[in-house]
Symmetry: C2
Subunit: 150 residues, 2 copies
Amino acid sequence: MTRQIVKVENKLFNSFFSIFHQAQLLSTFCCALILFSPTISSAQNKNQMVRLAKIKIDSAQLEKYKAALKEGIETAVRVEPGVITLFAVYDKNDPTNVTVLEVYADVAAYKAHIETPHFKKYKSITKDMVKSLELVDVDPIAFATKPKQK
Amino acid sequence: MTRQIVKVENKLFNSFFSIFHQAQLLSTFCCALILFSPTISSAQNKNQMVRLAKIKIDSAQLEKYKAALKEGIETAVRVEPGVITLFAVYDKNDPTNVTVLEVYADVAAYKAHIETPHFKKYKSITKDMVKSLELVDVDPIAFATKPKQK
């Protein structure tokens, strides 16, 4: 009977360590991916849609425009799986010149994006703030960014 | 004796599930961080230097230029702690128009960048390929990107 108990113990310990070890490996692997991944690289996916939006803003409404754009961008990347990157900047010498770099997983993701409530809200709020809008389709050459900003 | 075996089994199963459950939770947490962490946001650091470089390339040397730029960008973000993001694209309608969005941790990081061997190599290789270069200092409005590209 004692041998039987020992056998049961061994069997249980073996499965325990085997499964625990696998879980531990997976956990370590995932953490390593977060902590040590040196760069995030896109531009690998041929289907990606990349674009520069060049936008001229009414100077009297610039602060309101920037707030609306910021909210729209952060919501889109947070809630839409197909919105990969949105990076908006304004010229220091002429803050009414805004440029947005846009990366979508594919054209379908872009089409879905412009039908979302947050995009429609952005368009509606900003329609009288935007004096002109030029959309330039581009292709990526290289995209490298640190995974965690300093 | 049977009760004893059952007790041993129960005890072992309880510790097994307790520790395995913890490992599983940790693993799930790490994976969730990777998969669902919604955005990487820079633009928080007031010291960051952000710029758009608008570059016109000799059409006959475009492919060589793109290769040199790609190598320079990937090296810089990999080896320089102060080079946060370099994103280069070319216009689909006119591939000789290249735009690079550059984010450095601060002005000192940029000054260090232009003294690196890889930057000097890029400048030397491409000096006869670049027809014009316009550097536009910008400030970020919003920067959101998925941590893992699709």
